[in-house]
Symmetry: C2
Subunit: 333 residues, 2 copies
Amino acid sequence: MAELRKDPIVGRWVVVNTENPYLPNQFEIKPFEWKGPQGCPFCYGNEHLTPPEIEAISTNWRQPNAPGWTVRVVPNKFPALRIEGNLDKQGNGLYDFSNGIGAHEVIIDNPDHFKGIAELNNWEVECILKAYRSRSLDLRKDTRFKYILIFKNVGAQAGASLEHGHSQLIALPMVPKNVKDEVVGAHHYYEFRERCIFCDIIAYELEVKERIVLETEEFLAFCPLSSRFSFEVWIIPKEHLTDFGVIDDYKISVLAQTLKEVIGRLKKLLGEHPYNYIIHTLPVNTDVHFGYHWHIEIMPKLIRIAGFEAGSGFYVVGTPPELAAKLLRETTL
Amino acid sequence: MAELRKDPIVGRWVVVNTENPYLPNQFEIKPFEWKGPQGCPFCYGNEHLTPPEIEAISTNWRQPNAPGWTVRVVPNKFPALRIEGNLDKQGNGLYDFSNGIGAHEVIIDNPDHFKGIAELNNWEVECILKAYRSRSLDLRKDTRFKYILIFKNVGAQAGASLEHGHSQLIALPMVPKNVKDEVVGAHHYYEFRERCIFCDIIAYELEVKERIVLETEEFLAFCPLSSRFSFEVWIIPKEHLTDFGVIDDYKISVLAQTLKEVIGRLKKLLGEHPYNYIIHTLPVNTDVHFGYHWHIEIMPKLIRIAGFEAGSGFYVVGTPPELAAKLLRETTL
């Protein structure tokens, strides 16, 4: 019989297929159809195909908008939101509106068209994380912004429109609903117990050991008990830290290692597959919630489901997180 | 500039692309790859390929599990949940669990392998809706069940694993999170204003007229102001009704017409495309919430995004609902 499990943070129930668990080879994952670097706006020499860069990380002096960078941050060419103008929030009858003030940036992970997080070296992954941090710190100076959403889509099935490895950042003048649910849920728990729910989850997972993927000095990688997706992995700092934006250099280097290792193991186990990761962190320019704890959620997209779950809030997980964690623990690169 | 809009029921913000609206021909919709009826367990003569039927609608007397039916309801061969056993809810540390008690049924819409809702006649669509109603009324007798989720996935990209037209029903021992958010949101509004928020939305939409697709004697079909998906359409009874399960025969016949007309227009405008619909209705065997109002949400899946939105709660809508509604109003079958 399957098992129903309730997420203690947001109250979501999921159905875990404990009866006939899906193994990695039972997912019909379509191989990526690589088109290659021809005309790719994220490759060296094509810098003029993107809007002018916002910042870049490079080891040597270089001209802006020219080759030589390691990570390059540019405005999204087709932004969902724009930074210019005054924030204008209004009500009309039942509804609330705001004009589309925000920022929508693309972080080009690396000059190599084909390399994903697993193929980059530690230092290159560190550079990506440093770009995330730098943009988060810069954008929050604009007090109109209340949330900085940093995420990555890999593969067309996970929403990537370009195959060259990249991440995205969206700065929003309000807190998105899912983040709010999480922050409010954690805050309720904190008010009731005076402890951070994420810290309690970490302690629980370290005690039962069933869902741990790997533990490093600073981070825990585990498959959450109430995973929504098969092989979902969370990476969380063991220390109680609320804000990804103020992560220090040492933690960045350990996080880079951890992220690369987890994504590498997922790739070795599942083959090339579409996935998303999202950095979950505290809203900015708003009240501090003591009960929050930043983390990264990695969500492989192994089945072809395009949003029924989003509409219903009803998730069926083919691979129980205990099995996923065991397989990922046993995978060596 | 884009516009941010807040859903007044659950508090979700969406970004509406009012600047460069997507037109129907700008979506890259992959045509369905029809495999045909060979070996299809939902076709006449293959009744033995499904578990024994739960009920069927037919015009003439027939043997159970034999041809001659118009709509046939069978247990899902690979159920997410099972009906046998005692409900066992438990807590363990931070988490809450339940065994996988529930029902997972498939409603085979029609014997014709290739016909969708738009191609069936009114009476055939009525029969499907009557099967939904009948199963909803039957399953709620089991007081372990708190929610009866009825939905349809069309096309592999929207999660359909079989191409023969069918719907699904899942009876759950708890209320899924998205339903709870909606019921609680509507209830808060009701407590504050002593009016149903859905009734207020209907009144508002009828007044401003911008987002109406069509209005029949009993139902309103409109594109919600804070749509998550391009060409999202809701069909809602104009009368304040909370429970789909007690819909009367006359309303079923008008609903069949309305549903067929809306899905037909979507198909004419967008071509064959993946979509989901979900019947949103009040939980069963639980407290009554005066502020709820049942309705059907139709969600075309026109872009290849596989859940980033679900993870972030951040939706970008390519076609503003005002434009979608205008195009759908102007489409004639």
